[in-house]
Assembly symmetry: C2
Homo-oligomer: 483 residues x 2
């Protein structure tokens, strides 16, 4: 089957590529199959070893195969899968949260260091910046010995606010006034302050579906109600659905993640961002833009937050170093001109200030260029982990399993065959020493019962592979029983 | 005048003491006057120099005189003054906050490093524990290099929760279950989580008068209403007034500082704590006990928080390392059995977790004994600063000025002559390079217009003395104009 015809006018290595691709498409080579070795392929196809190598590398670049160290090249799995939206399952009405107890159990799993951490979204653990951050912190300790223990200004250390502004300029070309940036205790407090600044008890808040569970807990804790808006895995929030909801409900604010949403991983294209801003302006609805993953696209391209696209909608953008540098530092921020005074009052009332030593350390870390270098090194590690995780899904999970195709961040979203209840799977996985995030926590209603979020933001070990094998086998068993 | 009669049966040094005391009481020796030198007094009184020295030291212990290095002994000022409660000025009804703008200006003053910091309550700056804390942090960085950057458990690092429990045992003999301690972003977030856990929008919350301005901002930010309870400078909240208020108003919770309240500096005696707990139980009202200054009494005695006195009232106690170790670490805690699950949910929703590196560092700092050593060294520095500040008030402020008598902490509460508006004084002081805390911010209504809080929790310099001289002179001028 593997023979190259040595056609005129075509590079030999391209013919090797076509040959492999045809075999994959025809099902003769299936996901997970090992390609013939370079030597074998060279003999079979009658071309040189360097030609075969060139072909395999190009196939890898095209993400059709992947190399595994000391093992060879394998057919990748992910290309054939595609996520399907569970359109009928969400309510389309504002409803209170029903899964608090489950969330509690998921957090207990996350907090247990003995479990394989497939349940937590913590990208930097895949390649921690500990050495550079510790160095920066020691410099700060030496430079500001007593001061670094003291209170920061309410809205944060000016040096860090300037560095964050510079970072926006550097990566998106947008000029942000440091005075419009307020430092918070991580992204979660940024969301809290933004939401409390614009909405009150009983207000309706629109969210994506599925959405980040921390948003749902926040909305519920402030005695507000979440309403879900249909969200497409390619373009994010469906703008027509957003408009329909704003027409029919008195929505006070939207809380959307515009880049690398969690758990779906979708980045809203700029044309949709502009449409969204127009619709928000039309209905005078405020947007709280969750942008904590913006720096983590594998391609390094930083989309411009909706706030900076020039519309007149009221937007507060929330950022954080938790996903990109150090979650334990608890340093995030809000960007807003309109609400900065109100947020300053709330910040003081709710937590006084944020940690000064960490702020000074991050300011130094950014100013030194170490942050940019760290991101450059982190992204390919995350990408490689993403590919490996997807390959393991394809290898061990039932063929009906559908997955998102992460282009950044640290999570994979899976739809399991219908009969598989991810909450039960969660309980069994905990017993087996594995933490996962069942789909139910990503919606206020009980949809996503057969969905799952898996993380690839941690150091890759044999435990990861074993855990994925266990999960895949168990899902296969359950699917077979219920099918 | 200064002669000792050498009576039978009385130590000579006691007779010297009586002689000086009589002269002070009669006005012959006035506050600020220098006592005769040891040699002079020895000659005049006809007793030995060691006897005079013994007398002077005892007078200093009694706080009637003070020694100044290389200068001698001086009559203290503070003894003759006494704080007077402005009973007619508070409303006795739940009212919304009226001084947000002023608070904003006070914080701007506090945040300006170029001003003499008489406006901020930051005791540790008088003797920072930077070296010991930095050493502890470096140990943690070496020991938990990557882990220290990660997420803490929602309610905090178990090692720190155990150390805090041990600290309660060590200083008060009370056994606290570490599982009932939840780590927060400083004392302010502890107060937020406690209040949100037990009360809702529109609820009435009882506070001392005067009270910590951060409580008022918090209550207002959660759309609740504060009602003031008469507070006596000797015993704290007047229990009969508390009961009267609980009878007449539907008070959801009380937020009281039981030890070294801010700004009054009062510690509620144990018998009153017990009475308070009984009253709260009778009216089924919850207490949020602000105990962030508990470790800072000059005498080193740690009063037992009301929660641990054995009553059945619902109490959440809030503590912090901000006033005793490092405000910039933003590490505080709640102690509660009853509400710990609710607080865990709120903590996750509001700020996810608290900083792990700081938690690990404080756990190390406490376990090593450095925290206890630090407190032992800090208390006498604060006491000495308190004495010096009171002496400067007596020296430079009008004689009608009345002050609190701090027995711990880092603030002095002053009542200025009636015509002096402390808000105007605040504005003038800022212009003169001095930050102060005008009385108005310590009450939701506009009482305490002629009150002032001054801090002695910072390194003592000539700037402090110059600032106090400027303030005293200015107050004297204004009082003279308005008198």
């Amino acid at each position: 089957m593997l023979q190259v015809s040595k056609q005129e006018g075509t590079y030999l290595y391209r013919q090797v590529i076509d040959l492999i691709a045809e075999n994959i498409d025809a099902g003769a080579l299936r996901p997970g199959d090992r390609l013939p070795s370079l030597r074998k392929m060279s003999q079979t196809a009658g071309v040189s070893i360097p030609t075969v190598r060139q072909a395999y590398i190009e196939l890898e670049r095209q993400r059709r195969v992947e190399s595994r160290p000391q093992s060879g090249f394998y057919v990748r799995h992910v290309a054939a899968n595609d996520i399907v939206l569970p359109t009928p399952s969400y309510e389309g009405e504002p409803i209170p949260l029903t899964c608090r107890t489950l969330m509690e159990r998921v957090y207990n799993g996350i907090n247990n260091p003995d479990l394989v951490p497939l349940g937590i979204a913590n990208p930097t653990m895949a390649r921690p910046a500990a050495k550079a951050l510790h160095r920066a912190m020691k410099r700060v300790m030496a430079r500001a010995e007593n001061r670094s223990l003291g209170y920061s200004a309410t809205l944060g250390e000016p040096a860090l606010r300037r560095q964050i502004a510079y970072q926006y300029l550097d990566t998106t070309g947008v000029q942000v006034d440091p005075e419009h940036i307020g430092i918070t205790n991580g992204g979660q407090e940024a969301l809290l302050l933004a939401l409390k600044a614009v909405a009150s008890e009983g207000d309706i808040i629109a969210v994506e579906t599925p959405t980040y569970h921390g948003l749902l807990e926040l909305i519920d804790s402030l005695d507000m109600l979440a309403i879900e808006i249909e969200t497409c895995p390619e373009e994010g929030v469906t703008i027509s659905e957003l408009e329909r909801t704003l027409q029919t409900h008195d929505v006070k604010a939207c809380m959307f993640s515009t880049t690398l949403s969690n758990p779906l991983g979708v980045t809203m294209p700029e044309k949709d961002r502009r449409k969204m801003v127009d619709v928000l302006e039309k209905y005078d609805t405020i947007l709280i833009e969750d942008d904590v993953y913006g720096d983590l696209r594998f391609d390094g391209v930083r989309p411009v937050p909706a706030q900076f696209l020039g519309g007149k909608a009221h937007i507060i953008t929330c950022g954080s170093f938790s996903k990109t540098a150090a979650p334990g530092y608890r340093i995030g921020w809000v960007v807003t001109d309109e609400y900065i005074e109100r947020i300053s009052q709330l910040k003081r009332a709710f937590s006084c200030t944020s940690g000064l030593l960490q702020q000074l350390t991050l300011a130094d870390f950014l100013a030194s260029g170490d942050y940019t270098r760290h991101l450059k090194a982190l992204r390919p590690v995350l990408k490689r982990n993403a590919d490996r995780l997807a390959a393991l899904v394809a290898e061990h999970f039932p063929p009906q399993t559908r997955t998102s195709k992460p282009v950044g961040g640290s999570v994979l979203w899976l739809e399991l065959p219908g009969g598989v209840d991810a909450e039960n799977l969660f309980d069994e996985a905990i017993e087996a020493g594995i933490s996962i995030a069942p789909g139910r926590i990503f919606s206020p209603c009980s949809c996503y019962a057969n969905f799952l979020r898996l993380s690839f933001g941690h150091p890759w070990t044999e435990h990861t592979e074993n855990a994925m094998r266990w999960l895949g086998n168990r899902v296969t068993e359950i699917a077979a029983q219920s099918g």
